[in-house]
């Protein structure tokens, strides 16, 4: 009995430490976002007063609002592109037998191992070649490239786990590959699609290096850049309060997205787990 209690206590202490460890930075950012002036430089673990001035400041800046819109456009189109290409590629890689399929799959996996910096120069050439420099399409293209290997890989594995007979039944019912993808695979793959879609959205939303390299105009900046370019009253001041407020603002949409889709993910997993 004593041993059981001890075990339980130890378990919850461990969980508490884990949560503290992972949530604390974000918690501290929120607290910081509510303070300004000299209070910023006092270490405090509990919010003493709620001061919304930092939020007022960022929302009064047109550039910040514009960057939110930019990020939203870029991330959404990236998700659409990478899911479209990902699902169709996964169908081919998971279902159609062709020469060199394994090699292709392995090279896709290998591509995802390259660090971003390694492809920066090549990608820059590509973007200049297509005359996309300093447009949103430059970001959409590069983010799609960035998220595709993972998307394709996950969806392919998921696609392979679906019973072939379901697809064959659809073929006999007269379904074309496109119908099979949209009417059969899409609903069955939904948990995987939502997961990979969310991850590519988050990736595109938070990406900094490519945005910094391919965008020059202030009006085309995405959120991470906009935050990086927030400057204080003088060059010696870093406006931490405002930066933190901006960070909180751009994180909230992600949290809402995840919470919104969480139920769908679980529901989908249950659906997939039952033999049809």
């Amino acid at each position: 009995m004593m041993k059981q209690t001890f075990k339980n206590t130890a378990f919850y202490i461990f969980v508490a430490v884990l949560i503290l460890f992972s949530v604390f930075p974000f918690y501290y950012a929120i607290i910081t976002s509510f303070t300004h002036g000299g209070a910023l430089f006092q270490v405090q673990y509990w919010p003493k007063h709620f001061d919304f001035i930092n939020y007022k400041t960022i929302f009064s800046q047109d550039n910040f609002l514009l960057s939110l819109v930019n990020s939203l456009i870029v991330a959404t189109i990236t998700v659409i592109c990478s899911l479209f290409l990902g699902i169709t590629a996964a169908y081919a890689l998971g279902r159609v037998t062709f020469y060199g399929r394994t090699l292709l799959l392995l090279s896709i996996l290998a591509i995802s191992m390259f660090p971003q910096v390694a492809i920066l120069a090549g990608l820059f050439e590509l973007i200049r070649f297509f005359a996309l420099f300093n447009t949103r399409w430059a970001l959409i293209l590069s983010y799609t490239i960035l998220s595709l290997p993972f998307t394709v890989w996950v969806l392919t594995i998921f696609m392979r786990s679906l019973p072939v007979e379901i697809e064959e039944a659809a073929i006999i019912d007269g379904a074309t590959p496109w119908i099979i993808i949209t009417h059969i695979f899409w609903p069955l793959l939904r948990p995987a699609v939502i997961t990979t879609g969310l991850l590519s959205f988050i990736g595109a939303w938070n990406e900094f290096l490519f945005a910094l390299t391919f965008i020059r105009s202030e009006s085309l900046r995405t959120v991470p850049m906009a935050i990086a370019f927030i400057s204080g009253a003088s060059e010696h001041e870093i406006p931490w309060g405002i930066i933190m407020a901006a960070s909180v603002v751009v994180t909230v949409p992600l949290i809402i997205l995840v919470l919104f889709f969480q139920r769908r993910i679980i529901e989908g997993l249950v659906l997939g787990g039952v033999k049809g």
Binding site: E165, I171, I172, D173, G174, H183, L188, G276
Partner: protein, 338 residues
């Protein structure tokens, strides 16, 4: 509703030939069962007919029309799979309506057909349920319903009852037989490894072995006149006894076959074989007696309504009639008149 002709059908995966030159004619409205051990190519052959698999060479004709290059949906077939293969995210109604919907039939027509079929199969109360809320038997009924709705020329069944438990299998077997009777003129091809299904359902049985047809015939013919030792051994339960050596040579064959149900126990001194009872299995209606007569394996004798015979007792046996003796040569082919 179709006559199906298979002409010199071949299928190979690389260098491995899985279907070797099959010729077969399935009559209109016939119930044909493909049976064979695993690896005999029976499912592959069904897939070739369905169009899900591509043949390497040969011709496939439906009603005299070459369908080699027709996609499955245009062949006028419907298929019932072993794993049911229902669409898990659609309810029963949508599952059954899917094919017609893709064919762009009008809504009223679809509804009528689905409801009629559901009535026929007594699954009307399940129409708005998802497959995951159905039992195995109900799922298979829905899968059959989905096939009927398509109004096919040919029904293909790929081991449809293998996933069901024994009791349910019996019920569903009966229903498929009833279905075939009620849908006159619909050709059905049924793959199974279960000889009871084959014997009870088939108009004709096709026994396959290593990608070749071993024998085609009515269940009666297959049982009474097996054209090879393989067929003789494959059909019948418990399987036919085979005797070699001195037991067979004096009858002019290398292997002598006799079914357990065709052996009688006779008074000592009057039988052909005699031996010791080494084991017996009482199945209620029947008893299988294993008699050691000096051959490679004990001779199995099927008896009904006998009083129990104590183990180790000496028994004399005789074939019931001479026509029940099957004689095979060393290639497993039957030896005709002596």
């Amino acid at each position: 509703m179709a006559k199906i002709q298979l002409k010199n059908l071949k299928k190979s995966y690389g260098a491995i030939e899985v279907i070797k030159n099959i010729n077969l004619e399935v009559h209109q409205g016939e119930f044909i069962v493909f049976i064979g051990p695993s690896g005999s190519g029976k499912s592959t052959l069904l897939r070739l007919i369905s169009g899900l698999g591509e043949m390497t060479s040969g011709e496939l004709l439906f009603d005299g029309e070459l369908v080699n290059n027709l996609p499955p949906a245009e062949r006028g077939i419907a298929m019932v799979f072993q794993s049911y293969a229902l669409y898990p995210h659609m309810n029963v109604y949508a599952n059954m309506a899917f094919g017609m919907k893709l064919a762009k039939a009008n809504k009223e027509k679809i509804k009528k057909r689905v409801l009629d079929t559901a009535y026929l199969l007594q699954i009307e109360h399940l129409l708005d349920r998802l497959p995951k809320h159905l039992s195995g038997g109900e799922r298979q009924r829905v899968a059959i319903g989905r096939a009927i709705v398509r109004n096919p020329r040919v029904f293909l069944f790929d081991e449809p009852l293998s996933n069901l438990d024994a009791a349910l299998r019996g019920t569903m077997r009966l229903e498929i037989a009833k279905l075939h009777r009620s849908m006159q003129n619909v050709t059905m091809i049924y793959v199974t490894h279960d000889q009871i299904e084959a014997m009870t359902l088939a108009d004709r049985i096709v026994v396959l072995r290593d990608g070749q047809i071993e024998q085609v015939g009515t269940p009666q013919e297959i049982y009474e006149k097996p054209q090879s030792q393989f067929v003789a051994k494959f059909i019948g339960n418990p399987e036919m006894n085979f005797l070699t050596g001195s037991f067979s040579t004096h009858l002019g064959c290398s292997t002598l076959g006799i079914r357990p149900e065709h052996i009688d126990i006779v008074p000592h001194g009057s039988g052909v074989w005699s031996g010791k009872l080494v084991h017996s299995e009482n199945l209620g209606a029947d008893t299988y007696l294993f008699v050691e007569i000096g051959a490679d394996k004990p001779l199995i004798v099927r008896q009904n309504n006998t009083r129990p015979i104590p183990l180790q007792s000496k028994i004399t046996l005789n074939p019931r009639e001479e026509k029940h003796l099957y004689r095979f040569d060393s290639d497993g082919k039957p030896v005709l008149a002596r």
